[in-house]
Each structure stands twice: as C-alpha cells, then as structure tokens.
Symmetry: none
Amino acid sequence: MLERIRIVLIGTSHPGNIGGVARAMHNMGLADLALVAPRCEVITQDSISRASGADHLLHQASVHATLEEAVADCTLTVGASARSRTLPWPMLSPRELADRLPAECQAAESRVALVFGREDSGLTNAELQRCHAHVHIPTNADFSSLNLAAAVQVLAYECRMAWLSQADAPSAAPSDDAELATHAELERYFEHLERTLIGIDFHDPDQPRQLMARLRRLYLRARPERMEMNILRGILSATEKAANTRQTK
Amino acid sequence: MLERIRIVLIGTSHPGNIGGVARAMHNMGLADLALVAPRCEVITQDSISRASGADHLLHQASVHATLEEAVADCTLTVGASARSRTLPWPMLSPRELADRLPAECQAAESRVALVFGREDSGLTNAELQRCHAHVHIPTNADFSSLNLAAAVQVLAYECRMAWLSQADAPSAAPSDDAELATHAELERYFEHLERTLIGIDFHDPDQPRQLMARLRRLYLRARPERMEMNILRGILSATEKAANTRQTK
C-alpha cells in the first residue's frame, strides 16, 4: 500500500523543507516523492542535512513542470488545504483520508497523490480544483500554518497507521474490479467538456463564473470509472457531431 | 484539555529543533513547554526562525535541571521511546495515548507530560523508568529515528485529534448548506438526459444496453446538489438547442 502513495510538493522554495519531507517520508515508509516546479535547488547541503540519511529520496525524486504531469497516472488526488475556500470541495480529515487508503490502494495500478503547496501561499484554486478531495490538518485557528515537513509528517504518519491496521487485519476491502479513471483521463474529459460547452453556446470562457469548477467538483466527487469516462466522452462526441453535422446540412 | 499537556524536552542540542517543536505545539494548540538541561542556547536566530511566529513559547518555556523537577506536578508522565528496551514497560501507540487523554485530563489539577529525549540518544533507561508508560511512534524499521520536532508534531496532532473528538469542539465538517437535489428532480434529469441522448443519436432505446443504468449509477453516486442539477439540465437544453437550431437552418 505505502508504495502506491506519492507525495507531491509544488513550488517549494526551501531545500531544507524538501529534506525534512524526505526524512518524514522515509521514517513512515513512503518513497515516491514528486516535485513540481521547485523554486530552489533540490540537492543542497541543507536538504541533505535535514534528510538526515534519507537523501536517496531526494536523488530519486521526479521533477515535473506541472501538477498535471506529476499526477497523470494517479487514481486519487488529494490536496492539502486550509479549511475555507470560495467553492466548498469534499473535505477530509487526515484520519478520514487514512481510513480510505487501504481500499484506494488495493488495485495494482492504483496511485494516490497527496499534494502540498508552496510554503508561503499553499495551493492555488486551480490546483485545488484538480483534486478529488481536500485534506485539512486540524490546527489552532490562531496559528494554522504548518511547516511543510510537519504537514507531510502528519499525513505520512496517518498513512502508516492505516497500513499497519490493515496489515494486521484480514483484508477487509471488497475487491472492486472496476478500474478508476486516471487523473490524465479526467483532465482530457474536462477539456473535452469545456470545448463542447463552448461549442453549444452554454459556456463563455470570458465569463466563466464558476461553471467548470462546479462541474469538476461534481465529477471528481463521483470518482468515475474508466468505462463511465468513455461513456461521458462518447456523449460529448455525439453532442459535437449533432451540433456540427446538422450545422453543415 | 490541551492546556494540561506539557511537552518536556531533555538535553536538546539544536536550537532549530526547539523552535520547530514550539511551532508544532502552537499549531496544535499546546503551550506548555519545559526544557530539561538543554545543551544549547534556547533563544537564537535559528530557533526563532524555525518557530516561525511561535517564539512566545520559547520565551515562556520553563527550564529545569532535572526531569524530576520538570514533571513534579504531573499526574501522568509518558516517555517517547523506541520499541525495544531491556525492561518491558507499558507501551502505547500514539493513538492509544490519545484515547486516554480526555479522561487523564479531566481533573482541574491533572497534568500530562510527554517527554522527549536527546536528538542523538533519546531517553536514558533511568528517565524511561520515571515514566508511567512509553509511547512509540510507529516507523520504518530501517529508518526509525524521527526528527525531534517531527515526533512532537505527531503526538501533538494526536492530542489535538483527541481534544476535537471529545470537545464537540469547533465542528470539523465544513458547513454544508448546499441543498441536495430531491428524488423527483433527479428523475426529471434522467428523463431529460435520455431524451437528449436519443436526440443526438447516442442512445437507441431499442438497444439500450445498460447505458441509462450506468449513467444513473454515476450521477446518483455523486449526490448532486440542486444547483448542480440546474447546471446539468442547462447543458442538456443547450445541447438540444444546438442540435435543433442548426438542423432547421
């Protein structure tokens, strides 16, 4: 299970924090570290010192230009977030997330991404809207900004607790043989959806209101299977065809 | 409850770690920090920088010559420890400890001490034997030494979770005032969806396969809100209009 969990750091600016994250991950048995557009050197004296023996995770880390790329193969993407946002999104506590992990990680091709934002500003709304759910670490309302490595430590600890509890227990999760759509498949769907909605004059990208965000939230919440994704894309193609074909009559 | 929990650090040698501990404590709502025979300056640039706004905990921290003195008024003393010791002692997981905290902290005069040892060598056997119980944070067997601030973070997080669960404290759930679509609204949507899919030649009711069943399952799983239902119906109307309008050109 733990090998199917990826820690994704976006726009990190302090090498020491990346090192601290590597140490926290290795302590808890996680190994898959992905860095999106880091704003600092990854391998420095500081990061190696803070990694304190876990620096192989720094060397192995994958580096990506975009979040898209870092989570393309992921079947569940969860963003670490403060509580209140303009558009409420499914919100989990770290423990609720942990409770879901054994089932989420059951299939061999499953990959779970836990996404952490910049030290100073967290994740952007666009990044948060690429996530199936958000996880909020409960904190003191007066002092809520956790150190990046500390936040990873808490979630990695919950991952390990979930793993230990299922390692003890007889595998409780029912085998669900339906394959979930990957992040990349979902994003292709959202692109296709937006294009189609523009085509049928339902959506004006110059006045987006929150249309695409609302649709993202709805479909991400449903956790579409690959087969369902194919049906939905088929509907979009048929919509485009009906609108176009008849246009050119 | 949280104000009755004291974090005790013995023989810490890096100011940055004390600062990181202060930040982790304040993030989780703990405030009582006791330092036993620190092997470094407490207030330094490094400790203040790592405390990141929680440096009042550094200034308020009590400093003691011995563990005895630091926990003299405590009703429960728990030492953080690696698992195996020559003399077996009552051993708790962080979660088991957390489960006991509400009861342990009930009396006004109760005080719980969570004791952490030196960065390089932990707690001595003599110190461990002054504790009622030991708490072991589960770690990777090959890489078990947690950073001091990370270890405090994990236990402080469990303290906060225990407090939240007993306190009925600020409800953790986001206020979810969105109204769900009613059964009737959902059924009207499915009728409209089927009509539209027939109209764009995607669906043949004489050869239904399981199309509508699959779509029902998907949308019902998402528990659509009324507002989302309105958007989806708007998309169907726009689809019909795009297909028809252009047909009659």
